[in-house]
């Protein structure tokens, strides 16, 4: 037992060291490893969740942008169709209007023509009336000079021939 003596082994100290080490293991486990390992697990889970969420968000974003593109495309198509439609309609309307205008114009022209004709006829009539009045006045003036029948006849003839000219 000289070896034990020289190594300084003492059962009291051994027990003290054992208890000390046991306490150390327990406390380090309880307050060191366990919370830290759990913490690491939690964090790993959180990070995993975060990564998954980010992926999901990315996918959703892509989906949304795809949708957006589709919507824009559709809208463009629709807008083009509407514009085309409007153009066509406008063209039709224009043609219609032009046709109507032409018709109207021709109607108006015809009306005017008839009016002008009428007016012309009226004018001629009036002129004729005026001329005959003038003739009568002229005749009366001539008649005032007391001409005989022969002279009278001669004058009338003269006037008529003049008129005919």
């Amino acid at each position: 037992m000289e070896l034990i003596e020289s190594l300084g082994l003492n059962y009291k100290i051994l027990i003290a060291q054992l208890i000390n080490f046991a306490v150390l293991v327990f406390i380090l486990y309880k307050f060191g490893y366990k919370p830290i390992l759990r913490f690491l697990d939690d964090r790993r889970k959180k990070i995993e969740e975060g990564v998954i969420n980010a992926e999901k968000a990315q996918a959703k974003l892509e989906e949304l942008s795809e949708k957006e593109k589709k919507i824009i495309k559709d809208a463009k198509k629709e807008a083009l169709a509407i514009v085309e439609n409007a153009k066509n309609q406008a063209e039709e309307k224009r043609k219609e209007l032009i046709a109507k205008a032409k018709q109207d114009i021709s109607v108006i022209i015809n009306e005017e023509k008839t009016k002008i004709k009428q007016e012309k006829a009226e004018l001629v009539n009036e002129v004729k009336k005026d001329v005959s009045k003038l003739i009568v006045i002229a005749l009366e003036k001539i008649i005032d000079k007391k001409v005989d029948k022969s002279e009278d006849k001669k004058i009338i003839e003269e006037i008529v021939t003049n008129l005919k000219k």
Partner: protein
């Protein structure tokens, strides 16, 4: 000046007949330091870690991964990790603490001579022996749990053939050798590096001890690692089921 080297730790004082040796004192001090440090770390932990927390998280995470890679499963690793990690941290801190300079100068003058107050904890065979016994007992308990009491005994005492009987005896010897090799590896290395350091300081106090101190620090780290890894390996070997045993169990 006389160089005083003692294999046994020196008693500094006694409390009611209980001898407090210098190594036991430092065992307590280092344990207390580790416990307080752990409690502070635990109290201050945040989900987004600071620098100190990151370092210790890294240490524990890598340690855990290492333990898992050797022992195999998550379940076994959870059980054995606290023991192995504590052995590593405690041994490492205990080995490195003596390299804080100025310690060799602090001595007590007692009736039986000069007693150094500071001494490496692992240069006390008692502490190493306690840790070794923890390893060995855990190992055997695990083996009994895994193999069953008869399967465990059959490994050592086996009369099925002369060869198996001799192999059983060899196993008993190797178990005893394990205790000695495991404990004296750590004790011897740390004690030797302490003695070497003291001798070099005694012979040439300036510059020449430096390489030996570096060597000592290397030894301190390596031995802490070796001791805890050997513990881990012994226990994981004991927890493994041999191929022929599996066959046997299936045939039954």
């Amino acid at each position: 000046m006389k160089l005083n080297i003692s294999l046994a730790p020196e008693t500094i004082f006694e409390i009611a007949g209980f001898p407090i040796t210098n190594t036991l004192l430092w065992t307590f001090v280092i344990s207390l330091f580790l416990i307080i440090f752990t409690l502070i770390l635990n109290k201050r932990k945040k989900l987004i870690p600071g620098k100190i927390q990151s370092v210790f998280e890294l240490l524990i995470e890598k340690g855990y991964d290492f333990v898992k890679s050797i022992i195999g499963t998550e379940e076994k690793a959870r059980k054995i990790f606290p023991l192995v990690m504590t052995m590593f941290i405690f041994t490492l801190v205990a080995n490195l603490v003596i390299y804080i300079p100025g310690q060799a100068a602090v001595n007590l003058h007692k009736s039986e001579g000069i007693v150094p107050v500071f001494r490496a904890v692992m240069s006390d065979y008692g502490m190493v022996f306690v840790m070794t016994m923890i390893t060995i007992i855990t190992m055997h308990v695990v083996a009994i749990i895994v193999h069953g009491p008869f399967g465990y005994l059959k490994k050592f005492i086996n009369f099925s053939s002369p060869l198996n009987f001799i192999l059983g005896l060899m196993d008993i010897i190797s178990e005893i050798a394990k205790i000695i090799s495991l404990s004296f590896r750590l004790f011897g290395n740390i004690f030797a590096s302490e003695v070497l350091g003291a001798v070099m300081l005694f012979l040439a106090p300036f510059f020449i001890p430096l390489p030996f101190i570096f060597l000592g620090i290397l030894t301190a780290v390596v031995q802490a690692f070796v001791f805890s890894v050997l513990t881990l390996v012994f226990i994981s070997l004991a927890a493994e089921i041999d191929r022929d045993e599996v066959v046997e169990q299936h045939s039954i």
